[in-house]
């Protein structure tokens, strides 16, 4: 029984391998996966006396194209990018598919309109606090798969909390004659600085980590591209 399973497993792997090979070959033919520069013979006149020389440039295979949608790096970026699509954007895309003509983005525009109207309210503390809360929460930017923007929102909210507590401290200060805040600024300055530094540090570390992972993936793909380039080169050399 075990032997039958193993055989079928090997068969599946072989079938998958053949399929991948077929796709790669098709890609090669269609020019998606690589471009072949045939060998070239060039005659030159070298300085300073103009002596004639012949250079034979060998066959070259190019597998990377930063502008092509079929490039492995782009495919990776597009797959990761899928996790970033906002719920609002997805709804807008659906709505735009149903209505002919140029993009309307009705939900996004409606949200912007509300935000702009709100921005016209007089700049008093409650208005500002509510505006900054919504800015920090960024509901309109949420994506169903959470995306890379989820963690920063946590930091933005702590930022908002910090500003709000500061504002409450300032307002409460009116109750105490001769003092502009409830807790003296000398008490709050250090914790505030500490939180600021922590926020910036965490944010920086997060971006660093995010970019680091991206860099590792890019390097891995670049390694794969080199292997693929060499393989195609070895296959093609006898033909030229």
């Amino acid at each position: 029984m075990k032997e039958i399973r193993l055989r079928s497993c090997v068969l599946e792997v072989k079938r998958a391998g053949l399929l991948v090979l077929l796709v790669c070959m098709l890609g090669t033919i269609s020019g998606c996966v690589c471009k072949v520069i045939p060998p070239e013979t060039v005659t030159v006149r070298s300085a300073p006396d103009g002596e004639l020389h012949t250079f034979e440039y060998p066959l070259m295979v190019i597998v990377h194209d930063e502008n092509s949608v079929w490039d492995a790096h782009q495919i990776k970026n597009n797959i990761i990018g899928l996790t970033e699509l906002e719920a609002v954007r997805i709804l807008d895309i659906l709505s735009d598919i149903l209505t002919p003509g140029p993009e309307h983005r009705p939900i996004e525009n409606a949200i912007e309109w509300i935000k702009n109207q709100y921005a016209k309210l007089p700049p008093c503390a409650p208005v500002t606090i509510v505006r900054e809360l919504f800015w920090a929460m960024g509901f309109e930017k949420l994506s169903p798969t959470r995306g890379s923007g989820f963690f920063p929102r946590v930091i933005y909210l702590t930022d908002w909390l910090q500003i709000t507590l500061g504002e409450m401290n300032r307002v409460a200060g009116y109750a105490i004659p001769g003092q502009d805040t409830l807790l003296p600024r000398t008490w709050t300055a250090r914790p505030n600085d500490g939180v600021d530094s922590a926020q910036n540090g965490l944010m920086g570390a997060y971006i660093y980590l995010y970019q680091g992972l991206d860099w590792c993936l890019d390097k891995t793909i670049a390694g794969g591209e080199i292997v693929w380039q060499k393989t195609v080169w070895l296959v093609l050399v006898p033909w030229y």
Binding site: K35, V42, A47, P48, M60, I62, W135, Y156, Q211
Partner: protein
Amino acid sequence: MQCQDGMQCFAVPGNHAWTPTGLRVERGDRLTVVEVPDLKGRLSSVTVRRGWLPFDRVRARVAAGGSYTLRTRDRDFPLPAVLDDRRFPAYCLVGRIGEDGDVFYVGPRYDGKADASGELWLGINDPNPAKNKGEFLCKVAVEDPSTEEPNTWPRGVALDRGKPRPIPDANVVIFFIDGLRPDVAVEMAQMGHMPTFREIFMDGGTQVENAFSILPSLTDANFASMITGTFSDKHGSKTNFHFDRQKGRFVSNLNKYSYPRLAAQIRQRGVRAIYDYFPDSFGAGALPVQPRSPKVLQVNLLEWAHRSLNVANCMSEVLKQIDKAQARFGLDLASCPNVRVMLIWLPGTDVYSEKHEHAQFGRTRAKIAEADECMAKVVRQLKRRDQFDNTYFVLFSDHGTVGGNGFVNKKFDLHREVLHPHFRLNTAGYYGRFRCPGTPRDHLAFISDTDGAVQVSLPYTNADSGNLARPNFLVQLQNYELADDRRLRALEVFTEFTSRGRIRREDLDSKPVDFAVARSDEDTVFLQRTTKSQAFIRQRLRPDGELEFRYEPVRDYLPGGRIERISSGDPLRYVDSQAFSEAVAREGRSVEDWLSRFHTGKEWLKVTAGTEYPGCIDAISRFFRCDDQFKEENEEQNLPDVLLFANRGWTFMPKVMLNIRIQEIAGGRHGMAFREATQICMFFAGPGIRQGYVIKEPHRIVDILPTVLTMMSRDWKGNAIDGIPVNGIWEGHE
């Protein structure tokens, strides 16, 4: 039909290629054609109709100005248009005199002299007009040639002096349109295709007409200069790529990982950038020099990436729709409560210029028109939020663009044309490693292929030394030893040879390399156009800390040999330039006297602004300089041996680009030292700033930061800034 003002009115149907007007025009007559509204007061329009399948269907209304952005499959327009990769808009109102006359652009308004005699015909610039609907309404007048032509812009010329009067609590929005040529921007605005630019910056602001980049005219170096207000000897970002001799590797500044590195490098040098001046109130999307996270909310690549993806819908489309993505993030920034200084980079113009043969005189105009729409979005947002009236606007570009107007750029493969055939060296650069057949692997030189300026680093003293850690000075370069013991004058080979041997004397004007620059000693650089056209640029530090430069044209110079001065045919063509001698005369000196003395960079810029190579003296010299106060470890060693500038019609690119499969054409390029590549856009607008004026006095890109600091009522002095504010923009000074 007769209009109320005595002009003839016509309806030009959109479904006919040409319509005769019956008006006779004589050569030299002043001809005026103006688009007019219909009876309901709306501008007339033609609906362009193409295809019927959902993916192929186009139904778009265009006014007499036509469209740069409408995309159809039409080609071969009667007046070569943007869809043909040419200068004019598609589907605009056009005219011709006589049945076989040359087609000319009419658009919303034509006011010019007739260059032929015959009947005036009007039509639509459309190769397949049959299915269109609607008509253009216009009125036509043929007048006496002596009538003066109206000139609505500029309103006047302002002198560059005065006292800044910024308003309190101001905001500043800086639009950075990468590579936009000022002449193209003004022309498109006058044709009615950049309405926001026209409203805010031309009619509502002041242009610094003679504004120039630093050298080489590349993005990284110039952007760093803009945000720091300093030259590259202070901020350290000299070109887009460089070779790190100590680590033996090539460093690119043009990928997503390098942007934060550049910002960190500037900070480590102790140079302050715009985001350091406004730590809590600066906001920007993606930038060529990207601080990793100076403030949590405003400058954040993750937020930007998220937004841009949701504009373009997929990552691979972001670069194609980069301007829209940046503008969308700009709207977020305009909504952000803390942002007071906002910088929006719109790189689409440069990206497109590089991909189209006629660059900004062709298809790129669609991108420029889109960039205007992007600016309009941000301006509208500020108006909606009642922020418009207390906002200053700045528009600048970091370099010009060469090509597309009169000529199309060709590639010059420095690897195969010079380094392989003459030096027998393998080469490495941004586009990969290129083997020179028959050369051992360790015989290697580095080339930073970047548009119109490249840095070359050769092995020290001889091709087979394998020592790339030490730079070559002029003395080594002019007696460079090859692996087979032959010797070459390297600068002569770079400037006067291709793979076909020595360039013929009659072809020297169109040779690929304009001129080469190398270091003679730490304070002197050497320029060579040909062996008969060379020059020294010497620099010295004045007691007050300002740098001074002297330009010394010579010929047939070899290190250790006699210096033979020349009074004509210098490499920067100053001595034979009428503009130069007039400018020098205005300073009360003769050309000979001027060249015999040291002058500051600003003085040099002033006298060379009208020449073919404006402000090159200090810019070239400072490229090879490392400021003692700001320099990093090994910076001097990492300077290239030779800096080459491309000639008109050429750009440095390998024939085979190993990391890009599809790039057959050279497109519009920059980096060169001549005017088209270095002249930049510099416009200011806002409360208290002159409206519709032009300043003729020359300025540099480094002057933008001090002007922005002035707008925000900040002190710019004492910050080691090389630039000075443009004071002539402020009202109230004559």
